[in-house]
């Protein structure tokens, strides 16, 4: 166990971080002032949230780079094995830093195991004692760098996610095993890891990678990571598991009006989220006497009006980015990481049109409670109302997709920031216990303090997943670290697959002793008695030191009650 330091808080206050923050605030204000009044006022009034405002018109959101296509094989073909491996990780690091500079969001490695297999094979490399050792050492260094790096704008880490679990080749299996083992036995909380679960590959006894699935679950029981993409869930069955991957924040980029359905080499381009509870507050105030059915009708109408504004705003942002030059994306000029070669396009729109324009939402729970007086999981009737609402949103977005021929998608937003911002803005207009608790509940999630049995939570949330084609997740909250209760993780993954869940994660309070490295859930270390404890929690899909939470997340975490 490596010793753990706690410099991160200080590192967030470097000179560059300070300059970046000041500049970013200045730009955000300027951007808002420059936008069409109907977009900026909806944002200012907290009806919608335009994410990553500082990047408005300057860049896209995230990318799953095509690592195999982009790799410069010819340059290093003649190198020794040691040097080839070092070059591979140099390439990966360059990608992470480069994309960190030229885009606003995360980086997904779509099939890290398969891709490493392909790259190593193309470089005529095989596994032997020497290459295994060097690869593993370099991988460890790369992961440690990603864990510690605060070199992005002097303050934030790179949001990097490894998707893996499907490669059954010797190299692919070695890579998956190495990533999980290194993560499990270290104090790293980055990078994020998503394990793809698939029948015939790793899900059941007898499958070639069943051992790796078991190892992944063991790691989850110790460190919350990996989370699980469930390829066998009904609505995911028609998707090629090798062609889809997720971002750590849960973004799902797959469908394509302009070519192959895949995640690889593609981006979420722009996204904006809608404050669902606010519409309900407005309706309750304006029409206190109306019955539920009439309120729901007005709700649908109001949501569609707002979605229309969001759609236009996404177009505005999208077209501004399309007017940029390929020179604005220098890393992508060097390596062909995207599904189109941006050096040879007349217009960047020919790349960006493959990506998604996502409309997000938060607070189904509060919305249904405001309209019906009860939680959406309190009765079948309320559950059906909630589902219908989300289905209506998806239908509208599918209509946008077809009518405009762009990849609009419905995103169950992760909402680190908006969970706190929306109720804060709403408190200027309304006073209500659901506002005063300080946060709105994530997407379609059941309240964090429901105390529901985990099987029931999965059963209630499962049916929402198929509608959220822009990404979504169900989380299970445990009261304490499951330690080695891998069976509990297994049972819930299986139940989630049966419940049509797309993506599943496990949360629990993870405390790491900074003196001896012991892990568990405690105030004083059980092993050495130290009370220097680092508290790791999950925020918007990524693990964080809880000192750095935003206010909304702090309020939400304080309310989290385990589902058992």
């Amino acid at each position: 166990m490596k010793s753990i330091d706690n410099k991160h808080a200080a590192q967030r206050k470097t000179l560059v971080g300070y300059v970046y923050n000041e500049g970013s605030n200045y730009i955000k204000k300027n951007i808002l002032d420059s936008l069409d009044e109907k977009f900026s006022s909806a944002h200012r009034e907290g009806r919608i949230h335009i994410h990553d405002l500082e990047a408005y018109g300057e860049s896209y959101n995230c990318l799953t780079p095509d690592l195999v296509k982009g790799f410069p094989y010819d340059e290093i073909k003649g190198y020794s094995n040691i040097y080839k491996i070092m070059e591979i990780f140099y390439y990966l690091k360059k990608i992470v830093i480069g994309l960190g500079n030229e885009q606003s969001g995360g980086i997904g490695f779509g099939n890290f195991d398969c891709d490493m297999n392909d790259i190593l094979t193309k470089l005529d490399m095989t596994l032997n004692e020497e290459t295994r050792k060097i690869f593993k050492n370099n991988l460890d260094l790369f992961m440690r760098w990603n864990h510690e790096a605060r070199d992005r704008c002097g303050q934030v880490q790179y949001y990097l996610t490894f998707n893996l679990g499907l490669s059954t080749t010797d190299i692919g299996r070695f890579v998956t095993k190495s990533v999980i083992t290194i993560f499990m036995n270290s104090d790293y909380i980055h990078p994020n890891i998503i394990f793809k679960v698939k029948k015939g590959v790793n899900r059941n006894e007898g499958d070639k990678n069943f051992d790796l699935f078991k190892l992944a679950k063991k790691c989850t029981a110790k460190k919350m990571i990996p989370t699980y993409y469930l390829a066998d869930s009904e609505h995911n069955k028609k998707i090629d598991a090798y062609k889809i991957s997720l971002m750590g924040c849960r973004s799902k980029v797959y469908q394509n009006q302009y070519g192959e359905d895949t995640t690889i080499g593609k981006s979420n381009i722009v996204y904006t989220s809608i404050n669902l509870p606010r519409i309900a507050f407005d309706i309750n105030k304006e029409f206190p006497e109306l019955d539920l059915e009439s309120k729901l009708e007005i709700y649908e109408k109001r949501w569609k009006e707002l979605a229309d504004i969001v759609k236009d705003q996404l177009f505005d942002r999208f077209y501004k980015i399309c007017n940029l030059e390929s020179d604005d994306f220098p890393l992508n000029q060097i390596y062909p990481l995207m599904c189109e070669d941006i050096n040879n396009l007349n217009n960047l729109e020919d790349y960006f049109k493959h990506g998604t324009l996502a409309i997000g939402f938060i607070g189904i729970s509060e919305t249904i409670e405001l309209l019906t007086g009860k939680k959406f999981f309190s009765s079948n009737k309320n559950h059906a109302i909630a589902l219908n609402l989300v289905k209506m949103m998806r239908d509208t977005i599918d209509y946008y997709r077809k009518k405009n021929n762009y990849n609009f998608s419905l995103l169950a937003t992760s909402g680190e920031f908006i969970s706190g911002r929306f109720p804060e803005v709403d408190s200027e207009y309304y006073s209500h216990p659901l506002i005063e608790k300080g946060f709105y509940t994530n997407s379609f999630h059941i309240d964090v303090n429901s105390g529901l049995n985990p099987f029931d939570k999965i059963s209630y949330e499962g049916p929402f997943h198929k509608y959220c084609n822009g990404g979504c997740i169900t989380y299970i909250e445990f009261r304490s670290a499951p330690l080695n209760n891998v069976e509990a993780i297994s049972e819930l993954i299986e139940h989630a697959i049966e419940s049509d869940v797309n993506y599943l994660g496990f949360n629990y309070p993870l405390d790491i002793c900074m003196d001896c490295g012991n892990r568990g859930t405690y105030d004083t270390c059980d092993k050495c008695g130290s009370n220097k404890i680092k508290r790791i929690r999950r925020v918007s899909g990524y693990l964080e030191d809880s000192d750095f939470f935003t206010n909304g997340k702090k309020a939400e975490v304080a309310h989290r009650e385990p589902n058992f």
């Binding site: 105390g451 529901l452 049995n453 985990p454 099987f455 445990f478 009261r479 304490s480 499951p482 330690l483 080695n484 209760n485 891998v486 069976e487 509990a488 297994s490 049972e491 819930l492 012991n518 892990r519 568990g520 859930t521 405690y522 059980d526 092993k527 589902n563 058992f564």
Partner: protein, 155 residues
Amino acid sequence: MKISINSIDYSGSIVDGPGIRTVLFVQGCKRRCEDCHNPSTWDVDKGIYYNVDEIIKELNKNCLNKKLSISGGEPILQYPAILELVRKLKDFDIVLYTGFEFEDIPKEILNYIDYIKVGKFIKEKRTTITPYIGSTNQEFINLKNKNNNEKGKVK
């Protein structure tokens, strides 16, 4: 036969044995361990009496994954009723939490359960990092492994 219980927790525990478990808390324990988790289960007179068959019906209805941990209280104080319960819950995966040592447990019941946690809770030996036990003197024994993966082999 009647059994005296405190409560049944269906919320799905991950700390009372492998998997997601329903926990049946029986009523009554004379041990009085300092810092006991469940002092409300001590008083032998405060239980609610049910027929074992009623409990079985209840568990079959609400414990869908059929994983049950019998805790308390001290189950062995109601040995005949507990024995009947576990004999009748044939298709359940069962953990028995007892403060007795392994040698002191009547052998017959081991034929009908899958795991047993033995030893009393000792505050000074408290642990939160070893799975399924409260203090390091206690032991969580997998009887399935002990008996070739089948119930009913302990003589």
